[in-house]
């Protein structure tokens, strides 16, 4: 019997299924995001939250009420909310004089804050500002990160990982080729991060691979990196640990060489080489009787003549 560590012990099958869905698993569910507002928000921030909710639907919850907390100081209410809605990503929007139009992207591990990054919105165009036909909800977007800052700087690396986690959607084994419509492009340049969202049109080219034309649709942000809160290295290590069962099973007796040839190894029992079945050559068989004796005598006489 599984131990349900929480307060609730399920009494119906439906409740048991619900709790099993939320329990730790080998392959996990899509990460849910909770989008919430702080004590004071501006029009820009509320609109931005709504747009990102539209991008992240259906695996996101948008809270309407204001929550008077400061994530960088006290994260207990965030953790409480995440337990209630089983979300491991959050987006907290706020606005004050010191940090205008502030968005905090963050993620949790085991319902405790893992890392969070604060981005300030400098320029913002919402979904409704840009008039064009939009992608359907729930399309898996293609993500592109441009700029060497994403490779060299620690905070940018963390931001890259966080944004990938946030926007990637469910992990699928295959994708419809015609359905690769949505592209999110992040550029890191001069301390700023530009986020643009395009719809990709697959045009005919001479060969099988189509030519891409882009059309801007979704929200476009000009972010500036503010505070960050990163986890310690060993917490990151624990969070990234994959269970052993997921590792691909190694098949024994199979090896590959440098050219990619697959070698297999067969194990046989010990063979008596004297009794091996080979091709029979009649001429080489041992002869019996007077014929054999004559041959032997002839040989010995030859030897004696030589000695002399």
């Amino acid at each position: 019997m599984k131990q349900y560590g929480g307060v609730i012990k399920p009494k119906t099958k439906r409740a048991k299924r619900f709790l099993d869905n939320r329990a730790p698993k080998l392959t996990e569910n899509v990460k849910n995001a909770m989008i919430m507002k702080g004590g004071n928000t501006s029009m820009t921030v509320t609109q931005a939250l709504k747009d990102i909710y539209a991008l992240k639907k259906p695996s996101a919850v948008l809270y309407k009420k204001k929550n008077i907390t400061r994530p960088f100081e006290d994260s207990t209410s965030l953790e409480f909310f995440s337990k209630k809605t089983d979300s491991s990503l959050f987006l907290f929007g706020s606005h004050n004089k010191k940090r205008p139009n502030n968005l905090i992207f963050g993620r949790l591990f085991d319902f405790h804050v893992l890392d969070m990054i604060e981005l300030g919105i400098e320029k913002y165009n919402s979904l409704s500002d840009i008039k064009s036909s939009k992608c359907p909800e729930g399309t898996k977007p293609m993500l592109v990160f441009a700029g060497d800052a994403f490779d060299h700087e620690n905070e940018h690396k963390c931001l890259k990982s966080l944004l990938t986690d946030f926007f990637r959607g469910p992990v699928v084994p295959s994708v419809r080729l015609a359905g690769l419509e949505h592209v999110l492009h992040f550029t890191a340049l001069e301390g700023k991060i530009y986020m643009r969202s395009y719809r990709s049109l697959l045009k005919k080219s001479g060969c099988r691979t189509p030519r891409i034309e882009l059309e801007e649709i979704g929200p476009s942000f000009d972010f500036i990196l503010r505070r960050t809160h990163l986890a310690s290295d060993d917490l990151y290590k624990t969070a990234h640990k994959q269970p052993k069962a997921l590792k691909p099973k190694k098949k024994k007796n199979i090896s590959h060489d440098t050219f990619g040839t697959k070698f297999g190894r067969l194990h046989m029992q010990k063979q008596d080489l004297a009794k091996l079945q080979t091709r029979k050559m009649k001429g080489l068989r041992k002869r019996r009787g007077p014929a054999a004796a004559a041959v032997v005598a002839g040989e010995t006489s030859l030897k004696t003549t030589e000695v002399e």
């Binding site: 949790l108 893992l114 994403f150 990938t164 419809r176 015609a178 690769l180 189509p210």
Partner: protein, 305 residues
């Protein structure tokens, strides 16, 4: 001359290829890194800041995005595709970027009481083979049913029809039935040398204890006398009516079945069953409805007095 023309041909072919691929090739200093499992591309090239300032910001970003997306799509198209329900899908590999988990990996659940006991005793799980439909037995069953219908006798039970594989219990049951189906109910049948007489067959009768509840015994004897005394027949009208109706329905369905004959045999089977069931239900309800009024003699019109 021939060699020249071949070279020309090759050069021309290359040129054609290059033109074809022109629309999808992108020139970059450093190649991009891809994680196709997540549909992500990482562009590590340095961005020319001067160009960024000269051009309009949006146009620069858009052209950069277009180039990067083109390279990502080229990479995606290199993967194997398959056709699933009139749609072409590309099979994605496993995602390569290490991303943190949501929750820690699950702990192995503790073994249950039975599992512990089984481990202690060394009991292994035995797989039960699935029951397979036995064609030989089916034929045999149908043959016996036909014979029964022709001669209007009952079909023998499940275990008595010979099947390919008969278990010990089936054989034992068959032997017992065969033995007791004699005129003297198997009392004088010979037995094998070591065979034991089955002592748990026969109708079970329960007798009251000799000296028990005196009042109960008195009451029972008095009831018996009362029944013997009364002149009314001991007939349950309801039961009798239902029995009669059932008999009528059965005769009716048998007659209809015979009418159906060879043509409607398959359909007739179902209809016979359905009609018989419906008829039975209707008959019973009707019988019940009619029962009480017929029982009560003067309760027809209570209003009028």
């Amino acid at each position: 001359m021939a060699a020249c023309s071949i070279e020309d041909l090759l050069a021309k072919a290359e040129q054609d290829e290059a033109e074809k691929l022109k629309s999808i090739t992108v020139q970059k200093e450093l190649d991009l890194e891809f994680d196709i499992g997540n549909l992500v591309a990482y562009d590590k090239n340095r961005i020319d800041i001067r160009q960024f300032r000269e051009q309009k910001k949006e146009d620069f970003l858009r052209s950069l995005a277009r180039d990067n997306t083109q390279l990502l799509v080229n990479e995606i198209w290199k993967h194997p595709t398959e056709r699933v329900e009139e749609v072409i899908v590309v099979k994605l590999p496993e995602p390569t970027t290490p991303l943190p988990r949501e929750k820690p990996p699950p702990k192995p659940r503790p073994p249950t009481k039975w599992e512990e006991f089984a481990k202690l005793k060394g009991i292994q799980k035995k797989k039960k083979t699935n029951l397979v439909w036995d064609d030989v037995a089916k034929n045999e069953l149908h043959r016996l049913r036909n014979i029964a219908r022709a001669q209007k006798i009952k079909v023998p039970g499940v275990g008595l029809t010979p099947t390919a594989q008969q278990s010990k219990t089936d054989l034992a049951r068959a032997v017992n039935v065969a033995k007791s189906s004699t005129a003297s109910a198997g009392k004088f049948q010979d037995r094998l040398p070591k065979e034991k007489a089955p002592r748990n067959t026969g109708k079970k009768r329960k007798f009251q204890p000799v000296i028990g509840n005196f009042s109960n015994e008195k009451q029972r004897q008095l009831d018996l006398l009362k029944v013997l005394d009364s002149k009314k027949p001991r007939l349950d009208v309801n039961k009798a009516v239902n029995k009669q109706m059932r008999e009528d329905d059965r005769e009716e369905s048998a007659a209809k079945f015979k009418k159906g004959g060879k043509k409607g045999r398959k359909g007739g089977n179902f209809s016979g069953k359905g009609k018989g069931g419906g008829g039975k239900g209707k008959g019973r309800a009707g019988g019940k409805g009619q029962g009480p009024p017929s029982g009560k003699k003067g309760a027809g019109k209570p209003g009028k007095r």
